[in-house]
């Protein structure tokens, strides 16, 4: 036997930290899981592959600035241009954050500890938001650092960069709350992936259809509302409203005013409420 000596059971009399510590530990654990850290190599391929794809335009942009002396991709348009990659990341990784705990009934192990269900859900949303924000913010920051180093003519676009970061955080919160809500209603991971990607494709595909329909009937003003059906353009409309960035929508831009901002806040609230309801039910089982 490998046991040479048995020192017997030892009691633990060290510090016991509060629920804040536990919530942070769960956030970090979830964040690691989203990027496949501490999991098998297979779990790392998708998240890190997508991160690499997100970095490519930033590198190309820096190269353009250095070699041609002109900007490639603007900060404010980065998220909209790269939206398919961000959506795939959300669809692929949101289920890993919530589905196993529901499917394999790990939740009771958490709930039999001091953390409450609210803290559990908060940790999951914060972790997923942080992951999506990093996915957008890291390439943006790389581009900004590149711009500073290349030293283009004229002042650096610091305001646009910071605006893109703030918008990126809002986008991450909107996407993660929706993605997690959808994934938590479909605990099988494959179904979760499929449901998130389906909702994204539907929202994306409906934009040109609704837009074309309204435009052909001469309703140009109403057609602008079609952009808000897709979360990336919706958040871009908030960016245009808050930071005065150039709209990434074709034609005459978005509906004016704070309506897009109100819509984003309402959607986030609705998704969080759905999550809360879902987990209240899961907790009572």
């Amino acid at each position: 036997m490998s046991e040479i000596y048995d020192i017997g059971y030892r009691h633990y009399d060290g510090p016991r930290l509060g629920r804040g510590h536990a919530t942070r530990a769960l956030t970090v654990h979830t964040l690691r899981g989203v990027f496949g850290l501490g999991r098998t190599a297979r779990g790392k391929i998708v998240p890190f592959g997508l991160v690499a794809i997100m970095l490519l335009p930033a590198i190309v942009s820096i190269a353009m600035m250095a070699l041609l002396g002109q900007r490639g991709l603007s900060y404010s348009s980065f998220a909209v241009v790269m939206q398919a990659v961000v959506a795939i990341f959300l669809a692929a990784q949101a289920p890993t954050a919530v589905a196993p705990d529901l499917r394999f009934r790990v939740l009771p192990l958490y709930l039999s500890r001091p953390v409450t269900i609210t803290e559990y859900v908060t940790a999951k949303v914060v972790a997923m938001t942080a992951a999506l924000f990093a996915l957008v913010a890291v390439p943006l920051t790389l581009m900004y650092v590149g711009e500073l180093l290349v030293d283009l003519d004229g002042p650096p676009a610091t305001k646009e960069y910071l605006g893109a970061l703030a918008t990126g955080l809002l986008l991450a919160l909107l996407l993660s709350s929706f993605g997690l809500a959808l994934a938590s209603f479909t605990p099988r991971r494959g179904l979760g992936v499929a449901s998130v990607i389906t909702v994204y494709l539907l929202s994306s595909a409906s934009v040109p259809i609704v837009y074309a329909m309204l435009e052909s009937s001469g309703n140009d003003a109403a057609a602008r509302w079609a952009w808000l059906l897709n979360p990336f353009w919706l958040v871009d409309a908030v960016q245009a409203w808050l930071f005065g960035s150039v709209p990434n929508a074709d034609g005459d831009g978005y509906p004016a005013g704070p309506v897009s901002g109100v819509l984003v806040v309402a959607l986030i609230a609705a998704a969080l409420a759905a999550l809360a309801l879902r987990y209240r039910k899961a907790a009572s089982r």
């Binding site: 196993p100 394999f104 009771p108």
Partner: protein, 302 residues
């Protein structure tokens, strides 16, 4: 000190009453909670963890009220669920460390405790492999380890021997006994198999349909009775006849006889009768109550 006490604890669900006026107290040590499926065992544990509010009545765990001090109780108590609850893609070490941190242990302490506890439950090198490839016995050990990792004062074990083979069952029971004695952690263990609890418990609570049938120390259940079991090779009938003639109370019990003992002379009479009839005496054994018998008797009265 009472480890837990309940007072008229009642929990109604829309269609069933899971607990019905349960009043019970237990002290330190290993307490068995016995009842058929649906007797209210799991509901009681959920209430004691502060996860389910009682419809009426009150309950306290380690002197803390379950309705107001739930979070504090859950910091001091460990819980091993009945059902499977392990994610397959993480290793036992990673899972137990993580859950230790969820109980408030700092990172380094969580690692040390997880290693300690996994060794105590008997998981060696395999603790670095993904849980998905574990046998049922190993999974049960991981479930037990996560309940112990934060060094609780009390642990609730819901059907810990479920799905184990006889050897695994034996090892699990021995481990639970050690937790209650060597580790100094009080245990509330549920089972529907009474024989198991006989071996490891200091105290047994029997519930049925959400009501208390009986709560007493194990010694009361299994105290010696005033009867001996007699087994002979052949001629059981003849022996029974002879003893009845001599005025002893005899009840046939399968191939054996249960004889009421009035005093030492009864044993002499059995010996002499067997010798006279030229019978081969195989067994002469002091009778003992088994919890099962008590349970049957009590259930019959309800």
């Amino acid at each position: 000190m009472h480890i837990l006490d309940t007072e008229g604890l009642t929990r109604r669900f829309p269609t069933v009453t899971a607990l019905d006026g349960l009043t019970v107290t237990t002290g330190p040590g290993v307490t068995g909670l016995v009842g058929a499926n649906g007797a209210g065992k799991s509901t009681l544990i959920k209430i004691l963890l502060g996860l389910l509010p009682p419809t009426s009545g009150s309950a306290r765990v380690l002197g803390l009220d379950v309705t107001t001090k739930g979070a504090q109780i859950r910091g001091l108590v460990g819980y091993m669920p009945e059902h499977e609850c392990l994610p397959p893609d993480v290793s036992a070490t990673e899972l137990v460390v993580h859950l230790a941190r969820m109980s408030g242990l700092p990172r380094t302490a969580a690692r040390e405790r997880a290693a300690d506890v996994l060794r105590h439950v008997g998981l060696a090198e395999e603790r670095y492999r993904a849980v998905g490839g574990y046998s049922t016995g190993m999974k049960q050990r991981v479930k037990l380890a996560q309940a112990l990792v934060h060094d609780p004062k009390l642990i609730f074990l819901d059907e810990p021997t479920n799905g184990l083979d006889p050897r695994g069952r034996d090892e699990m029971l021995t481990l639970i006994r050690r937790i209650g004695t060597e580790f100094g952690i009080s245990v509330l263990v549920t089972s529907h198999l009474l024989g198991e609890l006989e071996r490891i418990c200091d105290h047994v609570i029997v519930i049925d349909g959400g009501r208390l049938l009986r709560s007493s120390a194990i010694a009361d259940f299994t105290q010696t009775t005033q009867s001996v079991t007699v087994e002979v090779d052949e001629g059981t009938g003849a022996l029974a006849e002879r003893l009845t003639q001599l005025g002893h109370g005899v009840t046939p019990h399968g191939r054996m006889l249960l004889v009421q003992v009035g005093g030492p002379e009864t044993l002499d009479a059995i010996r002499d009768a067997a010798a006279d009839l030229d019978l081969c005496l195989i067994r002469l054994e002091q009778g003992r109550h088994r919890i099962e018998d008590v349970f049957k008797d009590e259930a019959a009265h309800v």
